[in-house]
Amino acid sequence: MSAALREKEIAGSLLSRWDARWKLCSILLAMVIVLTLRSSVVLGCGMAFVATLLAIGRITVTTVLQRLGWLCLNLAPFLLVMCLFVEQGWQVALLILLRTILIAGLILVLVLTSSASSLSAAAQQLGVPSILIQIFVLAARYARVFISELQRVRMALFCRGFRMQTTGHTFRTLGYTAGTMMIRGADRSERVADAMRTRGFRGAYQSLNELKTTSRDVVGFAVVVAVMFLLLVWDRVA
């Protein structure tokens, strides 16, 4: 999720102007309702709704397909096993796939139309435990540091003639790289903690972001909740 998070929300979209507290509440509620849906037709309609939200948020199709593509690729082996070895497994697999895509779509709506800063402020004001907010803020910040470090390591390996193959040497090298990254990560986490302490950190992360609620924010919340509630009712009747 942190890799998907933008440092600054997609500017100018209706969803980026939505108060992050209302956005967070409505998306979390929508995710809970999605988990309870059992009909693939209703889930399909839910996907149309999420697609609408993504369009309103001005999130490009390429961005969505890239994120969801990776997710589906990772999910595919499990779904395949389910289809092959479980009785009527394809139905269960389809349900799991639709729910996963829907939830991932909702997460994309949330994180691609909000800055890490506004989301942390929203979570703080909604009473989310400070430790979770710290984890979120630090993950959002250091995921990018980790990725750029990994890229540097990959370039260094390339410059020293390393090429990916299905050999023991490749797997051993990947193991060393993973180990090195873990050790560096552990070292860095200690230094980050020290740096935070020297700046007076005592366990509660505070954001500068001031959030203001307008009637438009409440209407947005009401629309999302109403649509999701209708889907739930339809699901139970169908």
Binding site: S115, S117, R141, A195, T198, G200, R202, Q206
Partner: protein
């Protein structure tokens, strides 16, 4: 201002990082902390900043003792530490939030913290980066933001760990000017001996955790035998003197 008496530090691995150090820093004094890699410079800074406590020896900053939990809490108001790698220090989602981080921890209101952070960013010529993620900054910009985030807390003592790392010539010049205007005490750990000649009248040389020399920078850096003995090179500028 800073009193260090018989200070030693041993890491849990058994490695002795500091061994029986004693020195004092007067208000407004600028000191260079020199020594090869692993000499104990960063550990000494973490002890002075009150991050590491509870071992042999005594560190007093403004008569505050970090060994006492109540006094340790006040350390961040008096001692500002700028880390070697700014990526370790810049933790917030935007530059402005990061500079305000320490102020909010000091108990300032959001509006006051924002105003002060905005002012210091303007003073450091970084206003245009206020809403940018630290990840997007160049090495020099990160270094300036990290320094701004510490200076804004108005500490009495500034500890700088390798501050010229990641800086080009222009960045070094700007940093030098900024540090020369700093009125509080300052200790700079660096390998850049050329740079500290004009900036720090006094130097300390550490070698394997021991304080091996304490004196005027010009004098110490002219002592070729001393420098060679402790793994340091004489600055080019002093070679022909």
């Amino acid at each position: 201002m800073i009193q260090i008496r018989n200070l030693s530090h041993r890491y849990p691995t058994g490695r002795v990082a500091l061994s029986d150090l004693s020195f004092a820093v007067r208000p407004g004094e600028r000191i260079a902390l020199l020594g090869s890699n692993g000499a104990g410079k960063s550990t000494l800074f973490l002890r002075i900043a009150g991050v590491y406590v509870g071992q042999q020896g005594e560190v007093l900053v403004h008569q505050l003792d970090p060994a006492k939990p109540a006094e340790r809490k006040q350390f961040s108001n008096h001692v500002g530490l700028v880390f070697q790698n700014p990526d370790d220090q810049l933790i917030a989602p935007t530059v402005l939030e990061d500079v305000a981080f320490g102020l909010l921890n000091q108990g300032l209101s959001k509006s006051d913290a924002k105003a002060k952070a905005t002012a210091i960013l303007s003073q450091f010529g970084l206003s245009h980066l206020a809403e940018i993620s630290p990840q997007r900054l160049s090495g020099g910009e990160k270094r300036r933001v990290a320094l701004a985030g510490v200076v804004v807390m108005q500490p009495n003592v500034l500890l700088l760990d390798e501050p010229t790392m990641f800086l080009d010539h222009r960045g070094r010049r700007e940093l030098t000017q900024r540090l020369q205007n700093w009125e509080g005490s300052m200790i700079i750990a660096t390998h850049d001996l050329e740079w500290v000649i004009d900036l720090c009248p006094r130097s300390l040389i550490l070698d394997r955790g021991k304080l091996v020399a304490d004196g005027s920078t010009a004098q110490l850096l002219s002592d070729l035998a001393l420098l060679e003995q402790h793994g340091l090179d004489q600055p080019q500028r002093l070679r022909n003197v």
